[in-house]
Symmetry: C2
Subunit: 414 residues, 2 copies
């Protein structure tokens, strides 16, 4: 008699009394996050918890400073007004830091999702030695930690996103070619530099965090399958499938920049030839849209300004610019078509420089993808990034707060 | 103040008393499935449940006929021997049925994973009208249901796998080009044909079920990121990421057979040109390995025999056969390289005809993929299918039993 292998189900779901309490506290927090303020009675009815349980757990959550009462459910009604419960943003926050090729950005979000701090520091990461870069990031974080703690906030954790490949097991950046990093022990070094009061540090890839953050903006529509495409000199994707990040076994998923999709089959820095990013990356746009002495190719000018110029030329109908964007779009379609066939996403979000050029890219891209559709089920929606340049830092702040929603009892008593 | 969007977390995890009971009963079942027989004391220690809870729940599970006591933990010890608890296969089973291009197969597995029935009926599905095909499947299932129930078994559910694209919402097969199906209401028709005692019917794609089943065979090694490649006339993949099936928003994931990877850019039935399956599918092997009047191209002969001939010629060093397999391998590498970059799987399992040819395909395939590796983290292990031709039906039986492991209280009292 042959044996069926046991299915690979995780051994999760243990529920003892303490775990039942934290699970249900987390449920209440996630419910309030998703649906906004609710009366205790509605909360009980809608979550299926008993009124007594809701009452006890809300007491615990209030003591931890994670929820509070506001106003009345129906202000006009006679008798005891139904007090509304909502998430309290005053106590707990998460920090996301993105180290990018040309900037470092930091976002602090409180438990309600409100952004308390958002800062972006232009910085050519490739020109700064690794040690110096880590010191800059550590100082940035330390300064914010001190401020936040002085204000009575508890920092749940910190997510740092380097523009490269991460070894999740030992907290190192294995390889970030665009800023010249190899085997950088990022978590260890930041811990050492920030000191004994450092919060837990997550590492996550920028494309993956952006995908999570962008997917969250589609929550109300129930979109759970989304691909985020970065668009700088290099190109990668972050993949969310059924609401979960697809990381791959070692975090190398989404490394699509080097797929063999360049029709000219040019050599790439990576050692392969014909890599996709050679024909859709920022350098290709700059090359196609202007000659070497065109001001869009002046490295002294901020990239932001150069992109604005290109966009304005395209808006004005400039032929060379439009032709450049048409070429990029057609090359983009070739690779996105592959991702659609493999992953069947509901939405593809274009980030990086593609966001600025979206009005000139999205219509023909949609036409090209529709032309190869075999069934309406493989239809895909295309959109520009809603969160812009700080999307990875936003995603980092989301990830930094997740632990609290999973188990609110982790928050120290006030 | 900008707002961070709420993360797309599902509102799962509610735990009231009844749910706590079923959750922990499921935990015990999954634990016994993964680790084999255990004493109650060990079960308590290893799951973190209290001894009293384990004792109560094991009582409930025993009454449902899902577990039973066996032998003694340490037979040599003095005093009351530690009785061992194990899954009981006598009461509950699941059925998986695969409708393939050239066969229908059915697997019945009991709760322990033991295969009770495995049958394969050669049948050229494309030549059988849909109604007739459904009648054949319904009769096959009805016969087995009657037998199983006469033996006192409770059939948890039934999974049917058509070789095409599924609409999960309404239980129809949208499109199965290789057997000529379009918009077939498979679940509805099977329910009607099997009658009032029909168990719950899941529909799932064959490649996806095979991926789940093959991934389960790697459970002891902790592999949770795997791609299964089907290899018939058409080619598709099933994707498991972190232990979960990646279905895509409408179940269209893994439709890689029509990726533009045929160097000769031949026209395909699908309307596109240069589809991958044209240069790696079974027809290409047959065309490359023998002329029209070669016996490997005799449609009167069973496919199994023709594949055996090809394999024997390759083993014997026949030049044309080896060249054909080398071409197929090189074309296979081109597409698998893309899947590695996108998904970073730990293992790629080759199914269908690739399994028979594995010794002649895997070594050069491994070399080709290693040559394009940028970092050891993107390494991938290649393997032939361990479950063979019935892998999708095996996977179907696994899926059919999952509901019991999620909530054992669904099983009716004896």
């Amino acid at each position: 008699m042959a044996m069926l292998p046991a299915a690979a189900l995780p051994l999760t779901g243990r529920a003892d009394a303490a775990q039942m309490r934290s699970t249900n506290m987390g449920l209440i927090l996630r419910y309030l996050r998703a649906h906004g303020p609710r009366s205790r009675a509605k909360l009980a009815a809608e979550t299926g918890l008993s009124k007594a349980t809701v009452s006890t757990l809300v007491g615990d959550l209030t003591e931890l400073g994670l929820v509070h009462d506001v106003g009345a459910d129906r202000p006009g009604t006679v008798g005891r007004p139904g007090v509304m419960l909502e998430l309290d943003g005053g106590r707990v926050c998460g920090i996301g830091v993105e180290i990018n090729v040309d900037h470092v950005s930091l976002v602090v979000a409180d438990l309600t999702g409100a952004v308390l701090i958002e800062e972006l520091h232009p910085l050519a990461a490739a020109t700064v030695p690794v040690g110096e870069m880590l010191r800059i990031v550590a100082e940035l974080v330390s300064g914010r930690l001190e401020e936040l703690r002085a204000d009575g906030m508890w920092v749940a954790s910190l997510t740092v996103s380097p523009p490269g490949i991460i070894d999740y097991d030992d907290g190192t950046v294995r390889f970030a070619p665009n800023i010249g990093w190899r085997s950088v022990p990022l978590v260890g070094e930041l811990k050492r530099l920030i000191g004994p009061d450092v919060p837990y540090i997550h590492l996550e890839n920028d494309a993956k965090l952006s995908a999570l953050a962008e997917c969250a903006t589609y929550e109300s529509r129930g979109v759970r399958d989304l691909i985020f495409v970065t668009g700088d000199i290099g190109v990668g994707v972050g993949i969310v499938a059924e609401g979960q990040l697809v990381r791959g076994w070692s975090g190398f998923s989404g490394e699509v920049g080097h797929l063999p999709l360049d029709l000219e089959n040019r050599p790439c820095n990576c050692g392969r030839t014909g890599c996709w990013e050679l024909c859709i990356g920022l350098n290709e746009l700059l090359r196609l849209a202007g000659s070497d002495n065109d001001e869009i190719n002046d490295p002294e000018r901020p990239l932001e300004d150069r992109l604005t110029m290109i966009r304005e030329r395209a808006d004005a109908g400039d032929e060379r610019t439009r032709a450049a964007l048409a070429t990029i779009t057609s090359n983009l379609a070739r690779g996105l078509g592959i991702l659609v066939d493999v992953l069947n996403p509901k939405v593809i979000v274009l980030g990086g420089y593609f966001t600025s050029m979206a009005p000139h890219i999205l219509p023909s891209l949609a036409t090209a993808l529709a032309a190869r559709r075999m069934d309406e089920g493989s239809a895909v929606e295309l959109a520009a990034s809603r969160l812009g340049i700080s999307s990875a830092a936003y995603g980092g702040a989301i990830v930094a707060l997740e632990g609290v929603f999973a188990d609110p009892t982790l928050v120290p008593a006030t």
